[in-house]
Amino acid sequence: MNPVLKLLLEGGRLTTAQMAQVAGFSVAEVEQHLEQLKKDKIFLGWRPVLDLSREEAAGAAVRAVIEVKLTPERGGGFNRLAERLAKFDEVESCYLMSGGYDLLVFVNAPTLQKAASFVSEKLSTLGGVLSTSTHFLLRSYKEGGFLLDSGDGAGNRLNVSP
């Protein structure tokens, strides 16, 4: 596996300079690898992982997960509809799922009103959408691999031990 990609997967907190030190490359080489990964559309971009329960971090105060049932199109299956749906700015992620519904859509909105109007005016009115089931996120316990209330107590380790 590309060594820079491996570092991205396991230590997302490293800067490019730090990745260079760990992998034994120059910074320029790491940047070259990143560029190539972007060109290959493997590495899509950086996103901060924020604790959205903190007011200053809560740019989008309302988050919802929506289960969407669709009528597949002749020839295109679910893809064209899903791609159309994913283009809305409110949609953070969109996945085709196995099981009782077809798409799982993660939505961010500044207010409950805006989230509701996205569902009722934009999503459910798309041709091919059979039904939606919206769940609002109440509280987060883990974000992007980070525990929010870390109770690991690892900070109490001895500084020097045999």
Binding site: G11, R13, L14, Q18, Q21, G24, R157, N159, V160, P162
Partner: protein, 393 residues
């Protein structure tokens, strides 16, 4: 300072020297709150994997709060037997050839108490873990230190053993890979050591706690060599590979009469290891191998980073083949290991342990543990570079 109460302390305990680690620990403790990066620890920075912690919680919820067999839970001993066969190529009977202990430290103490007569000589390679010499002294034995050298990557050689051997040696203590040097022996080197042990009729105590953290080649247990299982106590535990230091759980495997002798001491001194820790250890053996491999991969990368950076900045460092310790030399810098460690702590707030804490053969070296995050290792290396630059003669 002597007080009236001192007269109650047994003379062989009173004469034990203070641990060099303890001295340094106190120095670092005084700098609390000063952004010290510690490379002075002797444990993984990983928290025990959650599924292992969860199994202990479940054991408590289920009311498993009682004593176990003195030898430890049979189910755990069976799992240990399977693990040791698969990973070390040695077969032990769970019924009478395996004992679960409170860490390898207790297992080692049991060995010395069960096998060392007053005046017996015990050979051990040095630099070494801090407890060997004191543990031997506590049973009125005599330690015979065998030096290992940076030029050999701190592997123990049969030649050094032969040179150090004196009449009265009955036991050889091995710790491969080694804390603090990361040195280990390949199969050929071990075969020569095994031949020496057979020739001199030595019992071998083999602490292989870092064996899963072998980065180059494969780990060979001396117990797996021809004619050695019958004269070897294989010591192992969960602290390092499974990141379970605080659980205090280990085990010893060996010939039945020897395990029985260890059990005699264990049953009176300890009764049994904590059942909660035993339950966690069982989960570790049953489902924890992937975690071990992931952690080993991380340590490997960190080792490469630290060794490369140390050598770049003028701190000569061999690549440790195992463990999570680098043991660079301060000799080329014109300062002693203690001046280096104290100066580095005071000027740049990075803690490493002077090599002499691990015996006189650690002179001219410091131990730097790389079981910490990349970010901290990078900053620590930068600070060491500044320290060396500002103290260059």
């Amino acid at each position: 300072m002597s007080t009236p109460s001192h007269r109650w302390v047994a003379s062989h305990v009173a004469s034990l020297p203070r641990s060099g680690i303890r001295d340094f620990f106190e120095l670092v403790a005084k700098m609390k709150g000063q952004d010290v990066i510690s490379l002075g620890v002797g444990e993984p920075d990983f928290v025990t994997p959650w599924h292992i912690r969860k199994s202990a919680i479940t054991a408590i919820e289920e009311g498993k709060t009682y004593y176990t067999s003195n030898l430890g839970m049979l189910e755990l001993r069976r799992a240990v037997a399977t693990y040791v066969t698969e990973h070390f190529g040695v077969n032990y009977r769970p019924d009478d050839q395996i004992i679960i202990t409170v860490g390898v430290s207790e297992a080692l103490d049991l060995c010395f108490r069960a096998f060392c007569n007053p005046g017996d000589k015990v050979m051990y390679h040095q630099p070494c873990y801090v407890s060997y010499h004191p543990s031997i002294a506590l049973v009125h034995g005599e330690g015979v230190a065998v030096p290992t050298y940076a030029k050999d990557n701190f592997a123990l050689t049969a030649e050094a053993l032969r040179a150090a051997w004196v009449p009265g040696c009955r036991i050889l203590m091995l710790n491969l890979p080694c804390n603090p040097t990361g040195g280990t022996c390949d199969r050929v080197q071990l075969e020569a050591i095994a031949a020496f042990c057979r020739e001199k009729d030595l019992l071998v105590l083999s602490d292989e706690i870092y064996s899963e953290l072998t980065f180059e080649g494969t780990h060979t247990s001396i117990a797996s060599l021809p004619g050695m299982q019958e004269r070897t106590i294989f010591l192992h535990g969960f602290s390092k590979a499974f990141a379970m230091t605080g659980w205090r759980i280990g085990y010893a495997c060996g010939p039945e009469p020897l395990i029985d002798a260890m059990m005699k001491v264990h049953q009176y001194a300890m009764m049994c290891a904590s059942i909660i820790a035993q339950e966690a250890a069982l989960e570790a053996l049953n489902n924890g191998w992937e975690d071990v491999c992931e952690m080993r991969d991380q340590y490997h990368k960190r080792r490469d980073l630290v060794v490369r950076r140390f050598n770049e900045i003028g701190l000569t460092c061999h690549a440790p083949r195992g463990s999570f310790y680098a043991f660079p030399s301060t000799q080329g810098l014109g300062m002693t290991e203690k001046d280096f460690a104290v100066g580095l702590l005071k000027e740049q707030k990075v803690a490493v342990v002077p090599g002499t804490a691990f015996g006189i053969n650690g002179t001219g070296h410091v131990r730097a543990c790389f079981a910490t995050s990349y970010e901290k290792l990078i900053v620590a290396c930068d600070r060491i570079e500044q320290f060396i630059a500002s103290n260059r003669e």
